[in-house]
């Protein structure tokens, strides 16, 4: 589903964030990307949909090249990839339903969408996605009136409204109360199992990653230092990912 080859990201002037990442994610996998802060987790996720422009290497999603795609092709690739952010990134002043409808922007007729008009089918779909994250009753609330956990669920609904085949989640629980981590991760597991969506989730908590993911990828200094099932994450592996040495 996602094929990443020799991916390099160098930020000006000369910070090597990703240093030749090779990674193939199969359809339906729930991949957790682990690593210390600064290891390149966020950059890896953002390079997959080119919110960060790769310096070298290739990314293919569902068989189509993302790297090298022109404007139209890139938008077509992006609308098939939902993205969830650490800071939720909702439009705070807009209503919950309008935030979810934003997930339809890649699909809706462009001109009417600029006037805030979406096809009835898109509205129905947006409401359905809200219901799936348990927030159907909050559709008309302003996004910034919601709690952090609720806002992240709205962000998940926005991603689902894209009817994506892949969801990228960048530390989706890092800015939430630890007690809420489980509820957000449960929703992500739900969409992975029920909808068969491919998930790539960056996590800094080893335990959470082990409990939910079907596969763990460890990043260290911009390189893959571990790739395997959760049960193979031994203390030695954890040390290789997080440790101070070398």
């Amino acid at each position: 589903m996602i094929e990443i080859a020799r991916l390099r990201v160098v930020l000006p002037p000369a910070t090597v964030v990703l240093d030749g990442v090779d990674l193939t994610v199969r359809a339906g996998e729930f991949v957790a990307v682990l690593g210390r802060s600064g290891a390149g987790k966020t950059t890896l996720l953002r390079a997959i949909n080119r919110l960060v422009e790769p310096t070298a290497g290739t990314v293919r999603v569902a068989g189509r090249a993302v790297t090298g795609a022109d404007g139209v092709e890139l938008r077509e690739a992006r609308r098939r990839m939902g993205m969830i952010f650490q800071q939720f990134n909702l439009v705070r002043r807009a209503s919950v339903i309008d935030n979810v409808l934003a997930g339809r922007l890649g699909w809706a007729p462009a001109l009417p969408s600029l006037f805030g008009r979406f096809p009835p089918a898109d509205r129905a779909l947006a409401l359905e996605c809200l219901a799936q994250v348990g927030l159907a009753a909050m559709a008309e609330r302003r996004a910034d009136r919601l709690s952090g956990g609720e806002q992240q669920r709205v962000a998940i609904a926005r991603a689902l409204a894209q009817q994506p085949s892949v969801v990228l989640a960048d530390e989706p629980t890092a800015s939430l109360d630890p007690a809420l981590t489980g509820s957000i991760m449960d929703i992500l597991r739900g969409i992975n199992v029920e909808r068969g969506l491919t998930l790539v989730v960056s996590q800094h908590q080893l335990e959470t990653a082990r409990a939910y993911a079907t596969r763990i990828v460890g990043l260290r200094r911009g390189r893959v230092c571990f790739d395997g099932p959760p049960r193979e994450v031994t203390p030695a592996v954890a040390d290789a990912i997080y440790g101070e040495g070398a």
Partner: protein, 246 residues
Amino acid sequence: MRRAGLFVGLLVLAWTAWDTGADPVRFVRGVPWIIDILGRMLPPDPQVLAPALLGALKTVEIALLGTAVAAVLALPLGFVSARNVVGAPVFYPARAVLNFFRSVDTLVYALIFVAAVGLGPFPGVLAVVAYTTTSLAKLYSEAIEGIDRGPVDAITATGATRLQVLRFGVLPQVLPLFLSYVLYRLETNIRAATVLGFVGAGGIGFYLQTYLRMIDYRAASTVLLVTVAMVMVVDAISSKLRERLV
């Protein structure tokens, strides 16, 4: 270092006091004359209330029309002078042009436009437009530069076009600020427009200047009171509206 700064500052102020002929004794000697003029202003002459009100209405019209036109003209200017929208080759020249035109006061523009299109409220409107467009463009561009990058990323990630990103990621963040700046400008423009009549550019200032020249202080005080009332009413309405925007 700090002491030296203080010393230089005081030295500069002392020199300005000397050069402007600032003299407390002269001021105290003038106080009886101020009291005399205030005495001759009382009671305000009710007979000039009608022309004063008409003049105030003109002033409000000048400020309202000028601000509204400027609010629209400033939009494209605001975007091309925002550092995070355009590159340096556009940004620096755009900012320079804005700063140049902004450093000229409305009253000076009025002098120029009276010479160009003749006496009356119309050159007043043009003067308000000239100053307000550039000053609003500066405020707009600062609002655009201050936006949260997060929602912009999130909308981009849905596969939205550039225009859709602007409409759904940027506009909801800046529009309330824009409106608030426009109202603030309207308030200051009402004040600026009260003196436009002095140079023949219409409004209540014309009456104030005329009665002062005729040494009809009672009529002038009526005009002054109407001016104060007008400014207070517009301020009250405007700040009520601004409160609701935040």
